[in-house]
């Protein structure tokens, strides 16, 4: 492990003959470069990354998520940095290059010798060119975001009202910052000198349409007026923004988003040093700053390369991540003897603002001589669509889409190619239809952030062998993992999904959602059929829709659907024969055929009295006890026929089934919350208990876990749960779609600042929508990713009731809550039900002597094979003394 933030000497200890590669900067470009190097092999090389920021390289593109939520933006897997040949030095700022000695000096006085040097210093926010600039915030780094959030919180507190935020600059970042401030509870407005927003990417018509849409978002826009000063009071507190026309906009906080400035100071200093020494300037610096590079990303200074926003190519520095990634790949390739070349900037942009669809790509302003602009504009609706072509209307040169950017995904990869249909066909808002199907050529770039072509996607679907196991890819998640397409800005995901489905269909791969050989229907179709026809047994369902006798796939699926829809006892009326292993015994089967027992401990809160009962049951039956990750206690090693006796004791003591065996609600994990914790802002335990008691017994396509944290410190790890609830001073923030396990994912923010009732209503809807539409064994993360429209669709359905089913979903949940019954209490009530727990049909109480336990750390565990041989299988399972039970 070599992530360090302390100053260190030079690369002592590097074996002789190792090529020392030093990277200055720790942003996305640097990260991609290191990754690309590692992918090509680090043998005989050492990599040192000097990063001024104190964070592992993170995804700046998604900074907005950190502004309005608690996103983890770390790029890639943090363990990546554990490679001993890679040394990441955080908090280490390079201050000077010594080109003759080939060393980089850092602020802490260390010197880093290099054989190859890569400048990836990015850019910073351009300062405001007028008085008061120092009082403005900027929006570029995680620290900026933290500072902004803190300032807004302090302001709302001290002002006792919503703070007024004025964002100067109406480009992508300005709009994003203003929307973020609005989401954080501020009044927010944008000032832009040009006559319309995003004037660098949009023409006037598009800009006007965007203005419409933005007005609908709830923040004010002032265009066509240049700000002239940030006003402050005597204490230095911001009071307003003065405009050139004399007006003053009241403001408590100002954010400057007027452009970026390449961080080329290392090159400039090297030039000054050389000039002072009487030599010539080694670096050339671009007209608007930036270190000039050529196609191979070299700077003209031997062994020095530049990538990302600091690099100036063709007279420009571009503030987008796709070219930064492309440059990083070029240098990695060159350092491995390749001849890759940077093809020039791809400046396609898409605004990441929910509810505002804006995209611009290629020659958006039709600057190419003879270019044709085919336009549809409906300013009243806020829709503008434009396709730019060559003068023969055949080759696509660019386009702009506002209000309805659906055609953008399909068009973008066709840039510079012949259109498959006449251009007007892509102006979908005019005709109301959908864009023509486009057959993407193999070399068309689908994901520009990671430069993944349609051909690479096709290869992956066909099983290209690039990944481990080289199995053909059949799911979006796999495809992303294998090709990295869609993993950065995510805007190509719909396109990716479409291509995947198309390829699978043509490859004859059964994209069929058929459940198994007995049912041609998907889980969702079965769910709907069962709901509409009110079917209540497997026989009915099989009779109508299936064939054969069923199997271990369709039977539990149907059992689960039946249980989701009507809460009848799961083992009665033949339903027991449908249940999966654990449900069948209402306990979790372990490797030796014994079971574990888990009482519900809502919110992880338990009295000493109940703890004592659990302890005494464990002692009496000789069970192994372990605390689970869900804040409860698991008792292992019970035999089938012991389960009813054990539950009798637990239920008599006031406990109930924890349903650890079901595809159902497991636990609601919580921190101790505001009751005890000095940081807590809300009572997370009470909320967790309330949620657990509400959703207990809810059967679902997969297990469900929730977490409730009492403050932003997030001690309950709620964002690793299907539903995560995090308290803020303004109410609950609701996150959805998280899970741990083999492919962990963080829950995404769905809504914030909710009161108790709204929170519960939204969770009701979310769960029921999931239960109705997910595939078999599909967890919420995968479900909401694969759902048409993704998280946006979830938001529309849950928050805005776009499908008009919210009331129905809530009713379904209310029915569940009303009819909940503890399954173990129900079992004990009925002797017929108890028969299902006998050891042998012809010897109900005879202990199964194949279960053999030995002692380890003062508890039991299953005997290993050699131990069993040694002990013989006749040793009594439940002894009274000695180590063997």
């Amino acid at each position: 492990m070599s992530v360090r933030s302390t100053p260190e000497g030079t690369l002592a200890g590097t074996p002789a003959g190792t090529r020392r590669i030093v990277v200055v900067g720790g942003g996305p470009a640097a990260h991609r470069f290191v990754e690309a190097m590692a992918a090509r092999g680090l043998d005989g090389r050492s990599l040192t990354v000097l990063s001024e920021e104190n964070y592992l390289p993170y995804d700046r593109v998604n900074l907005g998520k950190a502004l309005t939520g608690h996103a983890d933006l770390t790029l890639g897997d943090p363990s990546f940095w554990a490679d001993e040949r890679v040394s990441l030095r955080l908090g280490s700022r390079a201050v000077r290059l010594d080109l003759d000695a080939r060393t980089v000096h850092t602020r802490d006085g260390a010197e880093h010798p290099y054989d190859e040097l890569v400048l990836a210093t990015g850019s910073d926010a351009a300062p405001l060119p007028f008085p008061g600039a120092a009082s403005a915030h900027v929006y570029r780094t995680l620290d900026d975001v933290h500072g902004l959030k803190r300032a807004l919180t302090l302001l709302s507190r001290s002002l006792g009202r919503k703070p007024h935020v004025v964002v100067i600059g109406g480009g992508l970042l300005g709009i994003e910052a203003a929307a973020g401030a609005l989401e954080l509870g501020a009044e927010s407005s944008v000032v832009n000198r040009s006559g319309w927003l995003m004037n660098a990417q949009l023409d006037e018509g598009a800009g006007q349409a965007l203005g419409r849409l933005i007005a609908g978002q709830g923040f004010a826009v002032h265009t066509g007026t240049a700000p002239s000063a940030v006003l402050t009071d005597d204490d230095g507190a911001v009071t307003g923004v003065e405009l050139a026309d004399g007006r003053v906009l009241p403001a408590d906080l100002v954010v400057a988003a007027v452009g970026i400035r390449p961080r080329d100071e290392l090159a400039r200093r090297a030039n000054e040093d050389a000039l002072a020494g009487g030599g010539a300037a080694p670096f050339s610096v671009g007209p608007r700053g930036g270190v000039v590079i050529s196609e191979d990303c070299s700077t003209g200074v031997p062994r020095v390369w530049a990538v990302g926003e600091v690099a100036s190519f063709g007279g420009e520095c571009v503030g987008l991540v796709a070219p930064a990634n492309a440059m990083a790949e070029v240098v990695a390739d060159r350092l491995h003897g390749g001849s890759a070349a940077f093809p020039g900037f791809d400046t396609a942009t898409k605004l990441k603002l929910s509810g505002v669809d804006v995209a611009s790509f290629g020659d958006a302003f039709a600057a190419t001589p003879g270019a044709l602009e085919i336009v549809y504009a409906d300013p009243a609706r806020g829709v503008y669509q434009k396709v730019v072509t060559t003068d023969d209307a055949r080759t696509l040169l660019g386009g702009i889409f506002v209000g309805d950017a659906a055609p953008y995904q399909g068009l973008r990869p066709l840039l510079g190619r012949e259109l498959p249909a006449e251009p007007g066909a892509f102006l979908t808002a005019a005709g109301g239809g959908s864009a023509p199907e486009t057959e993407l050529p193999d070399d068309a770039v689908l994901c520009s952030c990671n430069n993944v072509t349609a051909g690479a996607i096709r290869d992956a679907v066909g099983g290209c062998g690039a990944c481990e196991g080289s199995a053909p890819v059949q799911e979006l998640g796999e495809l992303k993992g294998c090709t990295r397409a869609g993993t950065q800005c995510g805007s190509c995901v719909p396109m990716l999904k479409k291509l995947l489905e198309k390829e699978l269909t043509t490859a004859g791969v059964t994209v069929s959602k058929a459940l198994c050989e007995h049912f041609a229907l998907s889980r969702q179709e079965l769910f709907d059929a069962i709901r509409v026809l009110q079917l209540t047994s497997f026989e009915e369902v099989l009779h109508r829709y299936g064939s054969g006798a069923g199997c271990d796939i369709c039977k539990p699926t149907v059992a689960n659907i039946l249980a989701s829809q009507n809460s009848a006892y799961v083992l009665d009326a033949g339903r027991g024969t449908l249940q999966d292993t654990n449900d069948r015994a209402l306990a979790n089967m372990q490797k030796d055929g014994s079971y574990s027992v888990v009482p519900r401990i809502p919110g992880g809160e338990i009295t000493p009295e109940k703890l004592a009962v659990i302890a005494s049951v464990a002692q009496q039956y000789g069970l192994y006890t372990k605390i689970t990750g869900g804040q409860r206690i698991d008792l292992f090693g019970a035999r089938l026929e012991q389960l009813p006796e054990i539950w009798k004791i637990l239920i008599d003591a006031g406990m109930e089934s924890g349903q650890a065996y079901g595809k159902s609600l497991r636990t609601v994990k919580s921190c101790v919350g505001s009751t005890w914790c000095r940081y807590g802002v809300q009572d997370s335990v009470s909320m967790a208990i309330r949620l657990e008691l509400r959703y207990r017994g809810l059967r679902s396509p997969h297990k469900l876990k929730l977490g409730v944290s009492g403050c932003a410190r997030e001690c309950a790890e709620a964002r690793g749960k299907d539903v995560g609830v995090i308290a803020t001073a303004d109410g609950w923030n609701l996150y959805v779609g998280g899970n741990g396990g083999a492919t962990p994912s963080h829950a995404q923010l769905l809504a914030q600042g909710l009161d108790d009732e709204t929170l519960i209503r939204y969770i009701d809807r979310y769960f029921m929508y999931y239960i109705r539409t997910a595939d078999r064994l599909q967890r919420t993360a995968r479900w909401q990713e694969e759902l048409d429209g993704g998280l946006e669709q979830v938001r529309r359905v849950v928050l805005e009731d776009s499908l008009g089913i919210a009331a129905e979903l809530e009713d379904a949940m209310a029915r569940h809550v009303d009819s909940y019954e503890d399954e173990w209490a129900a079992t004990l009530k009925d002797p017929e039900r108890l028969r299902r727990f006998r050891a042998f049909v012809n010897a109900p109480d005879t202990a199964d002597d194949s279960i053999v336990h030995v002692s380890e750390r003062e508890q039991i565990r299953p005997a290993t094979d050699p131990e069993r041989v040694l002990l013989g299988a006749t040793i009594p399972v439940r002894g009274t003394e000695g180590d063997l039970r």
């Binding site: 054969g548 199997c551 024969t577 050891a839 042998f840 094979d865």
Partner: protein
């Protein structure tokens, strides 16, 4: 539990078919339980001559007995799997790792896994008998 040797029936079990892996020469019929003791499609373990057997009464009326021991894990759990069909043949899936076996002869239908021993069964009056 009663057990009677019925030499004349050895090798021609009445229902449902010939077992794959039981040596007919050493079998004898053992009454295990009554038909009404079993719930259709719900497997149960039974002790036959000290040996654990998984017993199934299907909704079709057919009765099958296979080894209770799961060949993959060694755990005695087969009766607690899910009964089903594959291409028309009655099957049982292991409750632990879900390998599927044919009930009639215990053959593993998922790859080349080892098979289960299967035992002849018959119904005499309302008695279910297993040859072991």
């Amino acid at each position: 539990m009663t057990s009677t040797a019925i030499p004349e029936l050895v090798g021609i079990p009445s229902f449902p078919g010939v077992a794959g892996s039981v040596d007919p020469a050493v079998t004898s019929w053992h009454s295990v339980c009554r038909v009404q003791d079993l719930e259709p499609d719900w497997g149960e373990a039974a002790l036959v001559e000290g040996r654990q057997v998984a017993l199934f009464l299907l909704s079709s009326g057919a009765v099958y007995a296979v080894e209770q021991r799961d060949p993959v894990t060694g755990a005695h759990v087969m009766a607690r799997g899910i009964v089903g069909s594959r291409a028309g043949q009655a099957t049982i899936a292991s409750p632990l790792h879900k390998q599927v076996y044919r009930l009639s002869d215990g053959a593993c239908l998922d790859g080349a896994g080892s098979s289960l021993a299967a035992f002849p069964t018959r119904v005499v009056g309302d008695e279910i008998q297993v040859a072991a």
